[in-house]
C-alpha cells in the first residue's frame, strides 16, 4: 500500500479527518445554517436534496470533524458533486468560504480513497501526466492539430468510430477548437514582448495549460491588447499549470508543487496577468494551500497580491477605447471563478460596451454555472449536462456571440451551442477587443 495513504504517520488530523491540511474550522464557524445559499446552488436546483446544497455540505464537512461521520463514499458523493462554482459565496450573508471547505474536504477524501476505474484513469492521465508538463501538453496539442489537419477527424466522424466513444466525449470532440501555435512556443526566444508605443507598465503573463494549447489565439489576443496599451509583456519560461484542476479534484499535494513552481517563476514579476478565470482564482488562493507552511504561505501571499485578470487590469489601468465598429449583438456569461471567485463582473462588461457598434443583450442568471467546472464535465457528465441545459435556456435567442473570460466555460458553452442547435459564436472578451483594434488598424479578423 502506498505510504501516502496511510494516516498512521500523520498527526495533524481533526476528528475523523486523518490527514494533514484538514478543512478549516474557522471557515464553518461563520455558517449559521440560514439556508440563503440554497437557491444559489446549481446542484441543489437540480436535485432538491440538501446534501447537495452548500449549507448541507458545510454541515457534513463539520460533522466529520465532530466525529459523527467518516470519510467514505457516502461523504465523497456530496463533496464531489459540488461544482465548486462559488455561487454560494456570493449569496452568503456571512461570507462563508464554502469553496475552500470543499477543496480541503476533497483533499481528505482523495487521500482516504484514491480514485480507481474510469475517473482514476482520467485523473491520472490528465492531472498528473499531462497538465503539469508543458512539453507533453504541447505534444497533445500537436497531436490534436494533426488529428484535425490530417483528415483523421473527418474519418473518425464519418466512419462511426465516434459512436464507440462515451457520449460526453463525443460532445467534446465535436466542438474542439482549431488548434493553433501556443504562445509559449511562438515567443520562446523573446525575453520581452515590447509595448507598442510608450511603455507604461511591465507585466508577466500566465499562459495557462489548456488555454495555450486549445486557445492559443486568445493568448495571442491578450498579448496584442496588452502591448497595444503600453505594457511590456514577459512570458516567464518556467511557469506551469496553475493547479486549479488538481486542487478541485482533491490533489492538493500536486497543487502545492505547481504553486511553488509558479511562485518561483513569477518572483520578479510586477504584475501577473491571467485571461482564464479559473487560473486567476487559483493563483489568488495560493496562500490557502500553505496554511501549514509559514514560509511558503508568506511567499504565496506576496505572489497573490500581484495577480490580476486581464479585464480588470485593463479597466483599472485605463486602456485605449477602440474606434472601429464591430456591429454585433453580444451577451455576456459570467464565469463562476471571475464573478463569484474574484468579484469581477462589471469590468469585462465595460470593455465590451465600449466597443463601438456592440449591442449588449442581457442574459438572465448570467452568473449561473455552465457546468464546465474544470474537469467536472468529464467526471460528472450527467449533472454537468443538466446544469448546461438550464444555462442554455437563459442564452438570448437573438445574439450572435456569447462572450466570457474562461476557457473551460468556452468549451462547455460551445458544447451547449452545438447540442441545442444554437448558432452563437463563443468568444473571449479580450478577443473582441483585439478584433476591434485590428479592424481599426485595417486588418480584418474574426467573423
Amino acid at each position: 500500500m502506498d505510504v501516502k495513504n496511510d494516516p498512521s504517520c500523520q498527526i495533524k488530523g481533526l476528528g475523523n479527518y486523518l490527514w494533514s491540511d484538514p478543512p478549516d474550522a474557522g471557515k464553518w464557524a461563520d455558517c449559521v445554517h440560514c439556508g440563503l445559499c440554497l437557491e444559489a446552488c446549481p446542484t441543489y436546483e437540480q436535485t432538491g436534496q440538501e446534501q447537495h446544497s452548500p449549507r448541507g455540505r458545510v454541515h457534513l464537512i463539520k460533522s466529520v470533524a465532530e466525529g459523527k461521520l467518516v470519510v467514505d463514499e457516502n461523504f465523497a458523493d456530496p463533496v464531489f458533486v459540488c461544482l465548486d462554482c462559488r455561487a454560494c459565496t456570493t449569496a452568503c450573508p456571512a461570507d462563508v468560504d464554502v469553496g475552500g471547505l470543499i477543496e480541503e474536504a476533497r483533499g481528505q477524501v482523495r487521500q482516504a480513497m484514491p480514485l480507481t476505474g474510469w475517473k482514476g484513469a482520467v485523473s491520472k492521465t490528465f492531472l498528473e501526466g499531462i497538465f503539469p508538463h508543458q512539453n507533453r501538453l504541447n505534444s497533445l496539442g500537436s497531436l490534436l492539430k494533426f488529428y484535425q489537419k490530417s483528415g483523421m477527424q473527418k474519418v473518425v466522424r464519418k466512419t462511426g468510430l465516434i459512436n464507440i466513444m462515451p457520449k460526453h466525449l463525443v460532445e467534446m470532440e465535436s466542438i474542439m477548437p482549431e488548434i493553433g501555435t501556443p504562445v509559449q512556443k511562438k515567443y520562446k526566444d523573446q525575453e520581452v514582448i515590447k509595448a507598442k508605443g510608450e511603455t507604461k507598465h511591465e507585466v508577466s503573463m500566465l499562459t495557462g495549460c489548456i488555454m495555450d494549447v486549445m486557445f492559443s489565439d486568445i493568448n495571442e489576443s491578450t498579448i496584442n491588447v496588452l502591448t497595444r496599451n503600453g505594457n511590456n509583456v514577459t512570458i516567464p519560461k518556467n511557469q506551469t499549470c496553475c493547479g486549479a484542476l488538481h486542487v478541485h479534484a482533491g490533489d492538493r499535494e500536486t497543487g502545492r508543487e505547481l504553486a511553488k513552481r509558479n511562485i518561483e517563476a513569477f518572483k520578479d514579476a510586477e504584475k501577473v496577468i491571467t485571461n482564464a478565470a479559473g487560473c486567476g482564482c487559483m493563483l489568488k488562493e495560493y496562500p490557502e494551500l500553505f496554511r501549514e507552511d509559514p514560509e511558503w504561505h508568506e511567499k504565496a501571499e506576496e505572489f497573490s497580491k500581484k495577480v490580476e485578470d486581464v479585464s480588470k487590469y485593463l479597466y483599472d489601468t485605463g486602456y485605449e477605447k477602440p474606434k472601429a465598429e464591430l456591429n454585433k449583438r453580444i451577451t455576456y456569461h459570467d464565469a463562476c471563478h471571475l464573478a463569484h471567485g474574484q468579484g469581477i463582473r462589471e469590468e469585462p462588461r465595460d470593455l465590451l460596451i465600449n466597443i463601438p457598434g456592440v449591442e449588449m443583450v442581457h442574459m438572465p442568471n448570467s452568473d449561473r454555472c455552465c457546468g464546465s467546472a474544470g474537469i467536472y464535465n468529464i467526471t460528472n457528465p450527467e449533472m454537468a449536462g443538466a446544469v448546461l441545459e438550464s444555462k442554455m435556456e437563459n442564452v438570448p435567442d437573438d445574439v450572435e456571440m456569447i462572450s466570457m473570460g474562461n476557457p473551460g466555460c468556452m468549451l462547455q458553452m460551445a458544447i451547449g451551442v452545438e447540442k441545442y442547435g444554437r448558432n452563437q459564436k463563443i468568444v473571449h472578451t479580450v478577443q473582441l477587443l483585439d478584433w476591434a483594434y485590428q479592424k481599426e488598424d485595417g486588418k480584418e479578423r474574426g467573423k
Binding site: 461563520d30 440554497l38 456571512a94
Partner: protein, 484 residues
C-alpha cells in the same frame, strides 16, 4: 450520484421508494444528516428517511403508508424556519416538497396565482414583476424559503406592517390530511367562504394539521411610487419614539425597520455592508409606497419627525440601486451574525409599539446578566422584535445560557402585554414559552382542535405546544400505543 438499486433491507424504505422512485428517497446516514435540523440548530435529530414526491397523489400515498404503519412524518420546504418546525424530533419520515415547485397559474384579472408548496417565495414576484405585479409577504429568507413553508408558519416580513402577513394573502389551499385524504379549501380562490375559517386555521398551524400541496395566493399591483429613508440615531429611545410618532401621525409605512448597535456591527462585518456609522445606537429603515401623489408629503413628514427627535443623519434613497443595497443589508441580517458570532438564536416577541424603549432596555439588561451579546434587528412598526442572542455552541454551557436569555426576552414581551411569536412560529423553540401567554385550559382547547385533524398525532408531533402535555394527553397516547 445516481446509485444503482437500494442498499437497504428496511421494508419501509423499500415501500416508500416504490411510491416516489429509488432516486427520490434518501436513507443513508450522511444524506440524512443534512436534514437533522432547519434554521434552528439547537435541537438535532436524524430522520428515518427523506422522500421527494412530485405530485399531490404521491404525497397522499406516502401519508397513507405512514399512517397505516404508525410512522411519524412531517413536511419540509427549504428548511429555513427559525423555530425548528421541520426538525424530525421523533425520527420522522420527512416529506420534502421542494420538487413540487411549479407555478401552476397566474390570473392577473382576478389578482391571484396558484403555486405548489415548494415554489420559492421571491420567484413568485420575479415571475410576475414584468407585468407589474408582486406577492407581498416578504420574509427575509424570501430568496430561499418556500411558499408552503410560509403557509405553515404564517410568515411575515418587513412589508407586513402595511400589507399583512401570509394569512392575509392566502385564498385557497389543497391539503393532504394526516390520514392521506386530499381536501380542498376554497381552491377557486373566492375569499371569505361561509362556515369556519379553515384557511385561517391551517395557515400558521406549523405543519401539525395537514400537508399543503397547492396554494392559491393573492397578488398585488406594484405600488406606483416608493421612497425609502434611512435614519441614524445616537440614542435608542429617540429611534423608538420616531417609530411611534410616525405611526401616530397617520402614515402607514410599507416597512418600518430598526437595527441596534450590535446588529449594525454584524451587518457591516458581513457580505452586504452599506457603510453605516459604527458609533450610532440605532438606525431606522422606513419605506412608504402608494400612488405618487402624496409620497413626497409623507417623506417630508417623516424627515420632520426624525429631526424633531435628534436624528444624527437622515437620507432618502437616491436610486433603486441604493434602495436595493439598504434592503440587502437588512434582509441578510440574521445570516450576517455568522460574521461576528459562531451561533445565534433568534427570538420573535411582539409588543405594543409604545413599550419599545422599555423592552429594549430590559433586553439589554438580560444581555448584561447572561454575559451574552444580544443584537436587535426587527420590524419596529408592528412591534415585532427579533433579539438575536449570540453564543458559541462549542463553549460548555453557552447553549443553555442562550436558551435562558431568549426565554427571558419572551417573558419581558409577555409581561408588557405582548406575545411570544410574531412570524417565526413556536416550533420546538418556544413550546414552553406558550405557557407565558396561555393557561393549561387554553392549550388543551388547541390540542383538541389538532386532534380533530391529526388524531394519531403522527404528523409533526412534539411541536407548537408544551411537552409533555397534560396528564390526560399522556394517558391517551399510552392507551393508543397499547391498542396499536
Amino acid at each position: 450520484m445516481a446509485k444503482k438499486g437500494l442498499q437497504t433491507t428496511d421494508k419501509d424504505i423499500i415501500n416508500l421508494s416504490k411510491i416516489v422512485g429509488e432516486k427520490s428517497i434518501l436513507y443513508k446516514q450522511p444524506d440524512l444528516l443534512a436534514y437533522d435540523c432547519d434554521g434552528f440548530t439547537i435541537h438535532k435529530h436524524l430522520p428515518k428517511a427523506v422522500v421527494f414526491p412530485n405530485t399531490t397523489e404521491e404525497v397522499a400515498e406516502i401519508v397513507k403508508y405512514c399512517d397505516a404503519n404508525h410512522l411519524p412524518f412531517l413536511a419540509r420546504g427549504a428548511g429555513t424556519g427559525l423555530s425548528g418546525g421541520a426538525i424530525p424530533l421523533n425520527g420522522e419520515v420527512i416529506i420534502s416538497l421542494v420538487k413540487m415547485k411549479r407555478l401552476l397559474s397566474v390570473d392577473l384579472e382576478n389578482r391571484r396565482a396558484v403555486v405548489e408548496p415548494g415554489f420559492v417565495n421571491l420567484k413568485l414576484t420575479n415571475s410576475i414583476s414584468n407585468k407589474g405585479y408582486y406577492y407581498a409577504p416578504d420574509p427575509s429568507s424570501q430568496y430561499a424559503c418556500t411558499i408552503g413553508g410560509n403557509v405553515a408558519e404564517n410568515a411575515g416580513g418587513a412589508h407586513c406592517l402595511k400589507y399583512g402577513v401570509t394569512t392575509n394573502h392566502i385564498l385557497g389551499l389543497e391539503v393532504v390530511m394526516p390520514n392521506g385524504e386530499i381536501i380542498e379549501i376554497s381552491t377557486n380562490g373566492v375569499p371569505d367562504a361561509p362556515g369556519y375559517d379553515l384557511l385561517g386555521l391551517l395557515t400558521g398551524s406549523e405543519g401539525t394539521l395537514g400537508i399543503v400541496t397547492k396554494i392559491t395566493v393573492r397578488i398585488l399591483k406594484n405600488p406606483e411610487a416608493k421612497q425609502t429613508v434611512l435614519a441614524y440615531f445616537d440614542n435608542v429611545a429617540d429611534g423608538s419614539q420616531v417609530v411611534s410618532d410616525i405611526v401616530s401621525s397617520g402614515i402607514v409605512p410599507a416597512a418600518l425597520e430598526m437595527m441596534d448597535k450590535t446588529a449594525i456591527e454584524g451587518v457591516e462585518a458581513a457580505a452586504f455592508p452599506v457603510g453605516h456609522p459604527k458609533d450610532i445606537e440605532a438606525l431606522l429603515l422606513i419605506e412608504v409606497d402608494g400612488i405618487s401623489a402624496g409620497i413626497e408629503e409623507q417623506i417630508n413628514q417623516i424627515l420632520e419627525v426624525c429631526n424633531k427627535r435628534n436624528v444624527r443623519e437622515v437620507k432618502v434613497a437616491q436610486s433603486e440601486e441604493e434602495r436595493g443595497r439598504w434592503w440587502a443589508n437588512r434582509k441578510t441580517g440574521f445570516g450576517a451574525m455568522g460574521a461576528i458570532s459562531p451561533d445565534y438564536l433568534v427570538q420573535d416577541g411582539v409588543i405594543p409599539r409604545s413599550k419599545l424603549p422599555e423592552v429594549l432596555a430590559k433586553i439589554n439588561k438580560i444581555s448584561d446578566d447572561s454575559g451574552l451579546r444580544i443584537a436587535n434587528i426587527f420590524h419596529a412598526g408592528d412591534g415585532n422584535l427579533h433579539p438575536l442572542v449570540l453564543f458559541d455552541a462549542g463553549k460548555p454551557g453557552e447553549i443553555e445560557k442562550a436558551l435562558e436569555a431568549g426565554s427571558a426576552c419572551l417573558q419581558v414581551c409577555a409581561d408588557v402585554g405582548g406575545t411570544i411569536t410574531g412570524e417565526h412560529g413556536v416550533g420546538i423553540e418556544k413550546r414552553e414559552e406558550m405557557r407565558f401567554v396561555f393557561t393549561d385550559r387554553e392549550i388543551m382547547a388547541q390540542t383538541d382542535i389538532r386532534e380533530v385533524f391529526n388524531p394519531k398525532n403522527l404528523l409533526n408531533a412534539g411541536k407548537l405546544f408544551p411537552t409533555p402535555g397534560r396528564c390526560a394527553e399522556v394517558k391517551k397516547e399510552l392507551k393508543e400505543a397499547k391498542t396499536s
